[in-house]
Symmetry: C4
C-alpha cells in the first residue's frame, strides 16, 4: 500500500501529464516566484522596516513547503543517491539549507554570514529550470561551436590585456587608469560597448586608441554571432537537407513524416 | 441609395486601390502625424507657453476628424461589433476618448489624470500600423522561433537575478547597490551593454564580476541573433528549396513561376 | 592633336590601368586625405593658433589642385552635363565652392557662415568613394531587404515614441525627463544600448520600464542582423545553388566556370 | 650523441604528443600566466609597496626560465634564422628584452622608459597563441570577407568624420565638442553604441542628430555580422554541399567519409 502511495506521489511530483501533476507544478512555480520576490523585496530597506515580519513568515512557510517537497522527492525516488547528487537534487537542498543555517548563526558577529545565507536563497530561481527543458537544440548548437567560442574568447582576453596595459601607459593614474587591472576593466567596458563612463580617456592619444578599441569591439561582435548562427542553422538544415530514400528529394519541413513529393516515409537520422 | 453611399464610403475608407481611397489614406496619415507631433511639442514647456492655444485648436479639430472617421467606419461596416472589438477598432476609439474625458476632469485635483489622458493620445501612432502590412514574413519568422526566444529570455532573467544578488552582496549600499532590485537593474544595464554609469562597481571583486557579466552579455547577444537569422533564412529557403515536379531541380528565385531548367510550372506550397 | 591630349588626359584621370593613371589616383587620394586632416586639425584651437598660416597655405594649394582637377574632368568628358550633375561631379564642385565663397563673406558678421563653409570641405571625404567600387554586393543585399528594414525602423520609432511618453509620465521633469522629445531621446539612447547616462530613471517604476526597454533593445537588434545576413547569404547562394545543365549537380564554388562533377560549362544567370 | 639530445629536446619543446612534451607545455603555460599576473599586480600601488620584492624575484626567475627556453628553441631548430624571425620567435625574444634592458636604464631620468619596458612584458600573453591553433576556420572566413569588411570600415569612417564635423558646428565648444577630432571621437563613441556620456549633446538639434547616429549605429552593426556569418556559413557548407560521386546526393555530415545514402566513398575537395 505504501508502494501505491509512493507511485502516486512520484507521478504527481515528477510527472506533468496528470491534472494533479500539473497542479503540483503550478503550485511549486508560484512558491518559487513568491520566495524569490520575498528575498528581493527584503533587501529594500524601507520595505524591510515595514513588512519585515511578513517576509519572515513567508520565508518559513515556503521553507517548510520546500522541505516537504525535498523529503517527498527523496522518498519517492528509487535510486535515492542519484537524485540527491543530481543537479536539481543539489539545488533543492541548497534552497533549504540557508534558512536553517540562519538559526545557528544568530549573534551579531555573524551578520555577514547571515546576509550571505539569506541571499543564497535567490538560487532557488534555478529550480525553475525544470520548466524549461526546451533549450536542447540551443545547447547542442552552442556545444558544437565550443571550440570556436574558446578561440574567440582567448582573442578577446588577449586584446583586452594588451589594450589595458597600453592605456595604463598612455593615460596614467591621473586620468583614472590607476593600475593595469583597472585599465583592463576599462578595456572590457569599452570593447563590449557597455561604456559606463566612470573611466574615460582624456588625452588625444588615449582617445585615439579608445576609438580603435571601440570600432574593434563593434566589428568583432560579428564573430560570436556568426559562429552561433551557423551552428544553429546547421541544426535546422539537418532536417531540410534530409533526402527522401525513394525520390532523393530534399527540402522537407521539420515535422514532415512522409516525402512531400512521392509520399515515401522519411528515414530520420 | 443609402446602401450605395455606404458601399462607396467603405471603398474610400477601407480600400486603397481607388484615387479617393488613396487620398483618404494620405490625409489620415498626415492627421495622425500632426496629432502626435502636437502631443510631443505640447510637453515642451517653452512651446506650450507660446503656442498653447494653437495646440488646443489642432487637438480639437483633429479629434473631431478622428471622431467622424470612427463613426463612419462603424457605419459602413456590416458586422459592427467585429470592427469595434478588433485591434484597430479599439485603437481608433482610444484615440478619441482621452480628449473627451479631459472635459469631465477639469478641476485642479485631477491634474495627473488629465496629464495621463493627454499623453494617452500618443498611442494614435498605432493607427499607422494599417500602413505597414508588410511585416508578415518577419512576424512569421519571430513566431516560429518563439520557443527558443522564451528559453533565452528565461536564461537572461535568471542570470540577471543571480548576478544582481551577488553584486548586492559584494558591493553593498555604499557603492550604489542599495537593494537587490536596484542591483538587478544594474545587471540588466550591464548585460545588455547599455551601461549608463549611474551605478558602477567600485571594489576590485565587483569590477571583476562586472567584467564577467559584460563579456557574457557581449557573447550571448549572439544567441537571439542566431535564432532570428536562422528563422528568417528558413522563410527564404522555402522557395529556394522548392523542387520542380518534372526535373526535381531546386534553386529557383523567389518570384519564379516556371522551373528555370525545364520550364515546368512550379507548384508553390 | 587637342583630341589626342584630351584622350590621354581622360585615360589618366578616369582610368586606373596605366602607370600614369595609377599615379594620378594615388596623388589625388593623398591630396584628399591631407585636406581633410587640415580641416580637422584647424578646428583644434591650440594648433590653429600655432600653425594657422600653414593650414591657410595648404588650403589654397589643395583648392587650386582640386579646381584644376575639376576643370580637366569637365574638359575631357564628352557629355559634360552628365558628369557635372553626376554624384561625383557635384561632390567635386562642392569641394571647391566653400573656399572660394569664403572670399566673399569676410566681415565678422558672417563668422558662422565662414565656419560652416570651412567645415563643408570635410565632405571631400566623399571623393574617396571613387576608390571603393566594391560595395555593390553589399548594396544589392541591403536594397533587396529594403522593405523589411523599413518595417523594422517603423516598429523601432513607434516603440521609442510610446516608451518616451510613458517615461515622461512616470519620471517627470525633476528626474531629467523634462519633455516628451527629450524622453524619446532617452528611449533611443537606451534602446540602441548606447546609454550615455546623462538622463537615467530614478524611480522604481521608471527603472523597471527602463529594464524592459533595454532587454527589448538587446533582443530586437537580432532582427536587422537577421535580415541583412539572410540577404547577404542569398547573394552568395545564387552561385552555390546554380545547377549544372548536364548533370544537374549544385554546390559549385563562386568562381567556378565548369561543373566540378562532369566538366560541362556552367550557365551563369 | 648531441644530435640525440637535440632531437629529444625538439620533441619536448615543439611536440605535444609525448608526456614530456605535454608537461613542458603546461609548465610554460603556467609560467606565462604567472608572469602576466605579476606585471598586472605590480601596477597596483598598494600591492607593489607590500610585495614589490616578491614581484622582482618572480620577474627574474621567470625571465631566466624564458631565456633558457628561447636559447633551447634556437639550439634545437635546424633552420635557426627561420625560427628567430618567425612571429613566435620574435615574441619569445620580445619577452626577454625588456627585463634585461631595464638593467641599462636605471637612472631616475629614464623612469618613463623603464615603465614602458616593464609593461612591454605583458606581450608575453601572445606566447599563448601557440596553444590555440584552432582559429584557422575563423581566420579563413574573415580573410575571405576582407574586401567587404574594408568597404564597411571605410563607410563607418566616412560617416563618423561627417557626423563629427556636423556636431562640432551644431553643438560647439561650450557643450564639449571643442574640436573636430574630439567630435569625431564622440561620433565613434555613439555609433559603436559604447556611449560613455563624457560628451553628450545638449541642444535640441544636436540630440536629434545624435538620435539619428544611434539608430544608424544600431542598424549598421548588422552588416559586419552578416558578412562574417555568411563567410563562416560558407566554410561549413562546403562539406554539406559536397555531392556523392555515385548517387549525387548532398547533405553529408562534416565528418562523413562514406555517402550516407549509397555508401560510396566521398571525394573531399
Amino acid at each position: 500500500m505504501a508502494n501505491t502511495l509512493k507511485r502516486r506521489l512520484f507521478i504527481i511530483i515528477f510527472g506533468t501529464d496528470t491534472p494533479a501533476g500539473r497542479a503540483f507544478d503550478i503550485a511549486l512555480l508560484i512558491a518559487i516566484l513568491i520566495s524569490i520576490f520575498a528575498v528581493m523585496l527584503e533587501s529594500v530597506e524601507s520595505l524591510e522596516e515595514k513588512f519585515g515580519h511578513i517576509f519572515r513568515i513567508v520565508e518559513w512557510v515556503l521553507t517548510g513547503a520546500f522541505t516537504l517537497e525535498y523529503l517527498t522527492r527523496v522518498y519517492v525516488t528509487d535510486r535515492k543517491s542519484q537524485y540527491i547528487f543530481s543537479f536539481y537534487g543539489l539545488i533543492d537542498l541548497l534552497s533549504l539549507l540557508p534558512t536553517y543555517l540562519s538559526l545557528i548563526f544568530t549573534g551579531t558577529q555573524y551578520l555577514l554570514i547571515i546576509r550571505a545565507l539569506r541571499l543564497l536563497r535567490v538560487f532557488r530561481i534555478l529550480k525553475l529550470g525544470r520548466y524549461v527543458g526546451e533549450g536542447e537544440q540551443l545547447m547542442r548548437a552552442l556545444r558544437s561551436s565550443r571550440h570556436k567560442i574558446t578561440v574567440f574568447m582567448g582573442t578577446v582576453i588577449t586584446l583586452v590585456v594588451i589594450m589595458g596595459t597600453v592605456m595604463y601607459l598612455v593615460e596614467g593614474g591621473e586620468n583614472g587608469f590607476t593600475s593595469i587591472p583597472k585599465s583592463i576593466y576599462w578595456a572590457i567596458v569599452t570593447l563590449t560597448t557597455v561604456g559606463y563612463g566612470d573611466i574615460a580617456p582624456q588625452t588625444v592619444l588615449g582617445q585615439s586608441i579608445a576609438s580603435f578599441v571601440m570600432i574593434l569591439g563593434y566589428a568583432i561582435i560579428a564573430v560570436p554571432t556568426g559562429i552561433v548562427t551557423v551552428a544553429l542553422g546547421k541544426e535546422k538544415d539537418k532536417q531540410a537537407l534530409l533526402a527522401c530514400s525513394n525520390c532523393q528529394e530534399t527540402g522537407h519541413a521539420e515535422d514532415a513524416i512522409h516525402c512531400k513529393f512521392c509520399g515515401e516515409k522519411l528515414l530520420h537520422e
